[in-house]
Subunit: 270 residues, 3 copies
């Protein structure tokens, strides 16, 4: 069995996501298809690649990630496919692949990129605004059927890769930022557990709030408390128990979050 | 073929639901997976279990219901699995299973509960905030593969079960309440058809409104009419034809609904 | 493999869509099921049939489209199935099939309609408000299993078909209207490319705005520009680059859009 995942900014109302499955199953009836998300904010390629990073490690080897957050559709941005070691990417060459390349490189894998230019593997008619349907879906299906990337396109030296914001060191700590706000209003940052000495002796500053120490679990605090914890993707996150930290802190993606490692946690007021 | 259903409060934007499918298919590539809902109100365990009750009777024997509305994730609430006769539950031991136990007991089945504590069936790394991915999804997959519950956990005498609000008798009628407001704004109550003598000679009171008698079908009345009917789950529901009863009545879950069985329907003004 | 697609106005919160899959897989465990949309505006049959038109051409032969936007459920509107040449419809006889009949007739196919009245193919208990679950889902499953339409119902001379608004000719142009506003806020019209002489020498009037000429692609203009282009379904659409034309123009479905073919594009102000 092969899995194709779908990640787009198409929404679920108009049938655009369903059409991708029709096209895929026309060419590769045996594949399993998973919706990762169709609610990426319109044209927000950074949000799209960060969502891919959260999901991709949990899929079996051979999985093909078809992603389409594609403001440049119909312009000269290239249609792209990549072999990333254990898994594949099919989508626009606009930076959406960034986190998948990072995941692959961390495992010592050298990604191979391909410019999709073999039109015999596309739908017969290609629109200027829906390459996910007309190019990416049939290409992903042929790839699932075993057609090698070398036949689907031409080798490409490199792909468009984003600079993803990284934390910077500060006196006795780090300055990071909010990179994602999820469905619950949890604020995910780009700070990882290795930016924190331990669960204690640390202060986290976000907006006008200071949080003392990390909580081991979501509900180890009282309802309504503003807490900090390591989230399920390994990042420092700011949460409100049974509530929305985004509403509470009035935060948005890009806002700074500072971590201050203290020798004496009692020096600062709570 | 085995079916695993998913019911969560994760939303569809962040990829959390898609990840569950990746984990399940890694271990059990042959199962079919159905999304029941990922839009249960955050941390609303009662709404979650009521949704399970509407859905479970329509799935074939052997179906595994993986449910995660889980405010206590990472605390001492237990990870739970249950054999409910024809079907299975995997999720937190926080009352989410309540209606499934009720369905099973109505059929004379004695549920068997298990504390999931066999970590060799979990993901190698278990977070403190995403047990659906790290524990419930792999356990559901192994269960679908035929691993018996006795190997996945230890027998548990009982599970956490909610008190679900029940109607109380009143002079010539019943006092119930609104237990669910659906996508259309229909108000489902906890009153069943056996609380009503017949379709006629009955008055239903909700908010400041009185509805005379039940309608046999949704569109047997005029557009905009406030009507009462037996809904597809067998409960008394208040609806507005081509509109939202929730908006019309300004009702919310928990609001009282009274049924008054009349001998002469003409005694009350319409 | 057989595919059953689902298109409804049920939303995704209450489990109504998931239940359809349980019923289908009870009877036909081997079929693939695709959600086209469950977010058609409540009771908006026209929006539903237009969505079917966008999707159906991309599914393989033999696909069964189960559609339920069904304000008349429980009244005397008939349950319907149709053989449309390469594909099938199962749903209410309320006009929802309109665009599929149009697609079939364009290919020279004479549709065959059937009144679904063979209750041995339905669920044992049929509610008055959820025929998608109780009639359409089991019938679609039996159809996928190879039961012929002749056994599922009785031949019907005709089905309810909508008048879909068509453009009317005007001096040197056409007057059409907005027929759909998608997730991105793009305004799809009922004007097709053959209503436009070419990409140039054309003015498009919508609300108080005039757009000169068609854009070949979405991002061939600057961010925030109001543009006109041929969309992925072959219709003239009004878009804002990286924005919402619906918000920009303050438009709604039914608003007029006029096309004026000019001999000299410089005669009108931009």
């Amino acid at each position: 069995m092969r899995i194709i995942t779908l990640l787009t900014d198409f929404g679920l109302r108009d049938g655009y996501a369903g059409v991708l499955k029709g096209v895929i199953w026309q060419h590769a009836p045996q594949v399993q298809i998973v919706d990762l998300s169709h609610d990426i904010a319109p044209q927000n390629v950074l949000e799209g690649t960060l969502a891919l990073e959260r999901c991709a490690p949990y899929f079996p080897p051979g999985t093909i990630h078809l992603a389409a957050v594609d403001p440049g559709v119909g312009t000269d941005r290239l249609p792209l496919a990549a072999d990333l070691g254990g898994f594949y990417f099919v989508g626009p060459d606009n930076g959406l692949i960034t986190t998948l390349v990072r995941l692959a490189r961390r495992q010592g894998i050298v990604p191979r990129f391909f410019h999709l230019n073999q039109k015999q593997f596309w739908l017969p008619e290609v629109s200027n605004s829906f390459h996910a349907r007309d190019i990416f879906a049939p290409v992903a299906a042929h790839l699932a059927n075993g057609v090698p990337l070398e036949q689907l396109g031409s080798p490409l030296k490199d792909a468009v890769i984003f600079e993803i914001p990284m934390p910077s060191p500060k006196d006795e700590g780090w300055r990071g930022e909010i990179i994602h706000i999820d469905h619950f209003g949890n604020l995910a940052t780009n700070l990882r557990s290795n930016h924190l000495a331990a669960f204690t002796n640390v202060h986290i500053h976000v907006g006008e709030y200071t949080i003392r120490n990390l909580s081991p679990a979501y509900h180890s605090n009282a309802r309504g408390d503003l807490i900090a914890m390591i989230d399920s993707a390994g990042y420092l996150a700011i949460c409100v128990v049974d509530g929305s930290a985004a509403d509470f802190v009035q935060a948005k993606v890009g806002d700074p979050v500072e971590v201050h490692i203290t020798t004496s946690p009692s020096l600062l007021p709570s």
